[in-house]
Symmetry: C2
Subunit: 642 residues, 2 copies
């Protein structure tokens, strides 16, 4: 056996063994120590900077590390190998901070609670798995039907579920369970397949719970749902959110699908997303002080790639033209085919999706928004990593994914980050001095820039003529904050001394190109959908902005850069995490769950990649705010007034 | 670690390690060496006699071993413990011989082939799992629905199975499978649940197989069925039969249920019956030279206890009053909940049963017999370990199990054995000299007496007045073959020198009592059923004798001892292994499978244990042929003529 070394991680003070030649990032993951790593460990994003505080690692100089960094002991974890005992200090900006997630979860909840109330009343309480308390007559020689038949007979008096089936896992303990319960049992029944999914001692009808889960590429959120409650205020008993453990393997779905090509890559990514989900369920079970055995079912919404990972299905054809998923709808599964965690015999349902890039998370949101029930036309936008958009009303629905890229989640942006404490979220720039005013999340020392900050920054620099209508740094403007850096021109938002990371926080030409591409892709996607539906932006009744990101963006600045269409601000509605909200209602309403399937069937997917019209619209939108001045009359007027 | 000893088994010459204190019978089982053991290892049946040919074992003298036996090195394996290296010789009579099973399987097949033909024609070909060949259109950007949806769409043009579901196991490889098949695939579909159970490359419609299995307490039989054939001659492509590996753990269901109380006892018995089944499937797959992936489904028939073991369900309440099984009907299961063997993704169906002691094997037989379709009344008897009987016609069906005991399978009889080579199967006794004429199976040197031999022996001794009408040895008769042994009076059928076991083969008082109880239980069961149905034996249209045992019995002698009612010989029909026969038809006919469920629902079970009427009838039948002379007028007349 090769000798073992001891790797100590600071500041969390955890020591983990490793062998000579082991990769440092991999070791950290195994040790459960989170280090940001957006590029999937390819040494190109520079986010997994760590400082070697004792001992040394095998590592080559990297252009992403300055000579000074190198001298101070900074290395990229993803390209370092273990050669001896070592102490690794993880700088704050490389740590994953979870506190912000809870904040955005609460916001989401508030955002969708009104819709929630309306839907719960409309659909009524009819959980996907029902609970019935049955006092079974004790058997005697004149009534000695099998235990399973005795349960079925008692149930038939309470519910219409034909001849119920028992999964083998339930049947195996049935005899013992009902006798230990002295024949008074609670039966969990899935009416869709007439399956008795669990038998519990005594009357547990007053403790009937479900879990709603939203599996996002970046974060996973779970809520504990009281299946007997109808209003959002009382139905959500606990909630928890965490980063999807997969982010260490790549920031977007494509890098994760790439990772699957490695040996056991799929199994690893499956395990990770299941264990993130498991941890969240443990959290909410603990917080609400309930018995895990009272959770009868779980409803999951997620994008198509995440659902593949969750179910352990190879997603490789999703990334290859013509972009085919194995499935977008999944049959309910039990612990026999999908063991999630010990003691949790809950049946797992998922909200069906549409295509490789429009998943159940979007269908869930569309169902929650009620847009498919209204005659007025709604544009539904979820600007996350991908940028999914849905257009339509009660008669028709079109959807698309516009490969926006993760710029607004911090991906591909030198100092981009999620909206965690220290993220610059609001920016104003003096158009004459070019000096900025910034606000960070949690008012901490700045560490980077989050999505809303990037929108503000580009809009302000554009209004200050630092950026021209082509979305390039203008050469007209000069000042102490404008300089030529390694990646072309850059604007210094914070000097190193003001930051928490001891480096200048800048926006450079490459960052700007990425933001331009993202905003152009989203807008072009909307344009193509609208043209397909034969309508104009002005025909829209409302624009719904879904996703945690939405909350903090400044609508007017998003219009200035041409990310959102120019419409009256009151036409925009933030709905927060609609994916989770839809899963929540589905958990307590079979009719709503059926509705999601109806919506999935009704939606027409318009494939944008390789679509000529999209490419034309995209090119037209690679301009600030847009090549078509008529679409942004107010912005053009403001430009004239500068 | 305790030191390891080497245990060598002869004549098969297999060496296996054991630790000090290990049980010898247990070690033999682990080594895969079969030793007869009927009492479940309690040291009371004396069947696991082995000779220690080298070294010694820890063992106490046992009344079942004579002083001479002991001196020769004979020990009971079940009560011997390992103390050193040892060579163990297994005497022929303690070995399990498989050759006879094939013979009876062939007989069974012939016996039921006529019924088979009739049924196959009536029900028509519609296998429980269907195969469809689909040439899927290759996807492009205008037709990029998910792989699963593509399969479903192609299928909908060929079969009416709604929105098919994909088990996760199938979905996980779907993308790769259909691409490797270049989009031309065979889909296996279970119409009952609309599940696509497997996807195979190319057109496999011409290779569509099922397996029918009969899991008996003593033997397990399997047949490979061609799902495209209708006649018995061509539908059975291969068959194989073996002892149920569980016999080493007890001869009857009760001793096996007792064994389950041991730690991991249930898991062990489940593993054993599954591995016996697996071995048989391997045999028939090899014999027929087919690809195991072309087996789409398996249909299993067995008694209720065996089905519990097969599915891994604790059967303990079956043996406790009021005798409740966990279930008698089981939902179809796939490899995810019931992994049988690698590569075999077949769906497993089972024929539903009625009660703890009337199982799916009987329902299968009743369905095969066609008695539930006829207006004439049939008495269906399966005299195995238990003795199950069914009475009725197309309008009503009554059933019972009469706890006959395993006497006719050799259980509880000093020299009892199954109908293997060397078993005495036909006996005639000279009423004056009391000298016997015997015939053995395979005409080998006698080793013991099988069921038909026991019936002959008791009938002959009764006609010769050696046994009186009370079923006791008469003290009037004397002769060299009658003597007082350790267990009361005994009749010597073969002297040691004539046998293959070098011991006198005798029938003693205890054996006789066991046979009397068995025959009385069967007859009393029939009587109670007939009285419940309000009919007389003379109202019976026919009596069907099912089970391998039936073939060799002499109807007239069975009537003489009052095991069978006195009816014209032509009213009796042997049907062989009807349990397997029914499973075979169910495999190719969904309608027949549904019929078995209808029959199971229609049958009324009459519980005999603790039933006063049964006890009265049982006491009345503890007489030769019976206390009621009027029921056996011909036998009474013969008795007068002696």
């Amino acid at each position: 056996m090769p000798p073992e070394y001891r790797i100590k991680f600071l500041p969390i003070d955890r020591t983990y063994p490793a062998e000579k030649g082991d990769n440092l990032l991999e070791t950290a993951m195994q040790a459960g120590v989170h280090i940001n790593a957006s590029c999937g460990g390819r040494g190109v994003c520079g986010k997994c900077r760590v400082r070697i505080a004792g001992g040394s690692v095998g590592s080559l100089p990297n252009p992403l590390l300055s000579g000074n960094d190198w001298a101070m002991g900074f290395r990229l974890a993803c390209t370092s190998t273990i050669t001896e005992d070592v102490v690794v200090e993880i700088p704050f900006e490389s740590q994953v901070d979870r506190s912000i997630l809870t904040r955005s979860a609460i916001l989401s909840d508030l955002g969708s609670s009104a819709a929630n109330e309306a839907l719960a009343v409309r659909y009524g309480l009819d959980p996907l798995v029902a609970r019935y308390y049955c006092e079974l007559p004790k058997p005697d020689i004149d009534d000695n039907i099998p235990d399973a038949a005795r349960c079925a007979r008692a149930l038939s008096a309470k519910a219409d579920c034909g001849e119920p089936m028992f999964p083998l896992g339930v049947l195996r303990d049935l005899g013992m369970n009902i006798r230990e319960a002295d024949w008074n049992v609670t039966l969990d029944v899935a009416p869709d397949t007439c399956e008795i999914t669990r038998v519990t001692a005594g009357n547990r009808q007053s403790a009937h719970y479900a879990v709603a889960v939203d599996i996002g590429t970046t974060t996973v959120s779970a809520e504990l749902i009281d299946c007997r409650a109808l209003s959002a205020g009382s139905m959500v008993l606990a909630s928890s959110t965490d980063y999807n453990g997969q982010i260490s393997y790549g920031e977007d779905v494509i890098s994760r699908i790439m990772y699957c090509r490695k040996r056991r890559g799929l199994a690893k990514l499956h395990d990770i997303v299941v264990s993130t989900t498991r941890r969240l369920i443990s959290d909410i079970v603990r917080d609400a002080k309930i018995d895990i055995k009272d959770i009868t079912h779980i409803v999951i919404a997620g994008n198509t790639t995440m659902m593949h990972f969750f179910y352990g299905i190879d997603p490789k054809y999703i990334m290859l033209a013509p972009y085919i998923p194995a499935a977008t709808a999944f049959s309910p599964s039990g612990p026999e085919s999908l063991p999630l965690m010990p003691g949790l015999d809950a049946r797992v349902y998922s909200i069906p999706g549409i295509s490789s890039y429009v998943g159940g998370d979007i269908v869930s949101g569309v169902a929650l928004s009620g847009m498919a029930d209204r005659s007025g036309i709604t544009l539904f936008m979820d600007i996350g990593t991908n940028g999914e958009i849905v257009l339509g009303n009660c008669e028709w629905l079109l959807c698309s994914s516009c490969s926006a890229g993760p710029a607004f989640e911090g991906g591909g942006i030198t100092f981009g980050m999620l909206a965690a404490p220290g993220a610059i979220e609001k920016i104003h720039i003096n158009p004459f001095t070019l000096e900025p005013m910034i606000l960070t999340v949690g008012r901490a020392r700045p560490l980077g820039i989050c999505g809303s900050g990037l929108i503000d920054l580009v809009a302000e620099l554009f209004m200050a003529r630092v950026i021209d209508r082509n979305g390039k740094f203008s050469l007209e403007k000069q000042g102490p904050r404008l300089r030529r850096g390694e990646n072309g021109m850059e604007y210094v938002l914070c000097f190193a001394s003001e930051t928490g990371i001891e480096r200048d926080i800048v926006l450079n030409e490459i960052d700007l190109d990425n933001i331009m591409r993202t905003k152009a892709a989203v807008y072009a996607g909307c344009t193509v959908l609208l043209k397909s539906g034969g309508i104009e932006f002005t025909d829209l009744d409302s624009v719904i902005i879904a996703g945690g990101f939405g909350h903090s963006i400044d609508i007017e600045k998003a219009i200035i850069i041409g990310l959102l269409p120019q419409l009256p601000v009151e036409n925009f509605r933030f709905m927060g995490n609609t994916s989770l909200g839809g899963a929540r209602i589905a958990a307590v309403s079979r009719e709503f769950y059926t509705k999601t399937a109806d919506i999935a069937r009704a939606m027409t997917n318009i494939e944008l990649s390789g679509n000529t019209q999209f490419m034309n619209e995209f090119m037209a939108a690679m301009f600030l705010p847009h090549t078509d001045d008529r679409a942004f009359p107010e912005v053009i007027k403001m430009l004239g007034n500068r």
